[in-house]
Symmetry: C2
Subunit: 342 residues, 2 copies
């Protein structure tokens, strides 16, 4: 039976070192005056007892928890978890802890609940990393002013007075489409993500506007809609082939769906890239090993997460100092990765 140690508190240390708790506190935080001798004595006791100040108690008195609340969605997918990785990294560097909540639906009641439980934890700021789908951000935005801590959205439509950090999905789609144009393709189709998602809309818009700018067909027959999954990509591609049989290339809104396109093309003996150029979006670690390897738009989600943390911490500090915060949308630029498929 292991010794069930009781938590060591500041009082234990104070008593063992023969000083007041305040002095222990001073030693721990390196503030104010403490004589070298006393400091040494206290430090020895701290070491010996394995004392760690309770962040709980500290947060309570200081009204500051050095904790960020993270609201995620779809963690089981690679995208959100790479963002989370960036967040975790940067939070660690800046001395913040993370309290995580996964959102599984977008009911107002549930959102309110999640928000409330984070606030009850006295988080210093909130990172909202759940995607913008239909109007699921509306309620939140309306209530922004009544949330007592700064909040920053990851991947949302830029909006006046709301802080956000997003990949520039539109620009990414433009780059993808222009790359296809650059290799001489004219009949460029598009398989989009679910059009309730802001990100899917942006990618589609990038494709459409680029096509139109070049006087090319971007009508509805040139595109179909998937739901990001490989399975849906297969369907979407088959539909597309029916509706637009003479396409010469396709911009697929994510790599998972693009994978299905490659596979289905192979099955139908459509040669990639000769007969059909394919370009994806996301740059999964596996995409370089698809057959043929996938040309794609790489979004740096790790960086996205890191920037998000930096920004929210700035917002927290600004508020602390009672400075005005100008809420601003920010964008991270994606990059084109050229491989065999286009």
């Amino acid at each position: 039976m292991p010794t069930r140690k009781k938590r060591v508190t500041i009082k234990d240390v104070a008593q063992a070192a023969g000083v007041s708790t305040q002095t222990v506190s001073r030693v721990m935080n390196n503030v104010s005056y403490v004589s070298g001798e006393t400091r040494q004595r206290v430090e020895n006791v701290v070491e010996e007892l394995g004392y760690r100040p309770s962040t709980l108690a500290r947060s309570l008195i200081q009204q500051r928890s050095y904790t960020l609340g993270i609201v995620t969605f779809g963690l089981k997918y690679i995208g959100p978890s790479r963002t989370l990785n960036g967040i975790a990294d940067q939070a660690d560097k800046l001395g913040y802890m993370l309290v995580m909540k996964e959102l599984d639906n977008f009911d107002t009641a549930h959102i309110n609940d999640v928000l409330g439980s984070l606030l009850a934890r006295q988080v210093d700021g909130i990172l909202w990393a759940a995607p913008e789908i239909s109007d699921n951000h509306d309620w939140l935005e309306e209530h922004l002013s009544s949330i007592p801590v700064p909040i920053l959205f990851i991947a949302m439509q830029p909006k006046q007075g709301v802080s956000s950090v997003s990949t520039d999905n539109f620009q990414g789609a433009v780059m993808a489409t222009e790359h296809l144009l650059g290799i001489g393709r004219k009949k460029i189709a598009h398989i989009s993500g679910p059009l309730t998602w802001w990100e899917a809309l942006e990618r589609k818009r990038g494709w459409r506007e680029t096509m139109e700018k070049n006087g090319l067909d971007a009508s509805e027959r040139c595109c179909t809609e998937g739901n990001w999954s490989s399975a849906s990509g297969e369907n979407a591609f088959n539909q597309l082939l029916d509706a637009y049989p003479d396409l010469d290339s396709v911009f697929v809104a994510n790599d998972q769906m693009a994978l299905s396109v490659l596979r289905e093309a192979h099955r139908r003996n459509i040669r990639v890239p000769e007969q059909l150029a394919v370009i994806g979006f996301d740059n999964l670690p596996e995409s370089a090993y698809f057959y043929p390897s996938l040309t794609t738009i790489s979004q740096d989600l790790q960086l996205l997460g890191e920037e998000a943390v930096q920004t929210i911490v700035q917002m927290i500090q600004a508020r602390q100092n009672n400075e005005a915060v100008t809420a601003q949308p920010r964008f991270i630029q994606p990059t084109l990765v050229v491989r065999e498929s286009a």
Copy 2:
């Protein structure tokens, strides 16, 4: 400029409702006697002011935080994040919050630090979801008894007196190998993960022991080692072909590396599965869409995470009630998913 609301405390509510803070507390927690009229009045005020009890303060007095500490590693990969997803789900159901720490190296000092910061947050229990590599668990296990809260390891070598939940990697490898035997293959090669990882060792052991039991060759020339990445899979496969050119099938320790094998086989005009049967491990969402679709061992990481939370919560409650806890390793059985590649 939004109104920068101050936090609403129990005192505010008490004052506004004209009762003592204790009565408010009673209403919030539904304990002891409160008259219907008073309850209603307090509830109205709570609603009106948007009061939420501070979990911080509550945790402090109750010596219980309803928070679990999670130590993760390699979040940017799909495996850990699916486990995390299961953890988040189940924690939510059982009313626990998560405080997350990502581990980026295995220095004793760093491990101690991470542990300490979780304990300072007064977590009620810890889930150690960082992989067992070489002897990186040793220090932890030695110090188990001095950690004042229960700790449960995810995916570690079963050990007397240590609680853990793991996928049965050995059994999964046995299933994979037996499946290949079942379709008449005899020259079964293996591409392992990095052999410093416990999971890689187990998978290799499953393959080796099954081969030996059937009197087949499982010598070192029949296997090579990768590092889980697709890139390493390509190298490992090429080496394997040099050392063991007449192999008829290969069990690859994860799907990412298996993807490279499929691709390289295609490039060399080796027909899969006719000339070379391939089986992977993990069952990535994309694996069904590889070409050909990949037969693999599916480990239910979501479930793993859920079981882990259930177990740690039981441990917490047992300790709360001063019951004895018998630390036990537990296993989750993987399943075989047969597709085209084998």
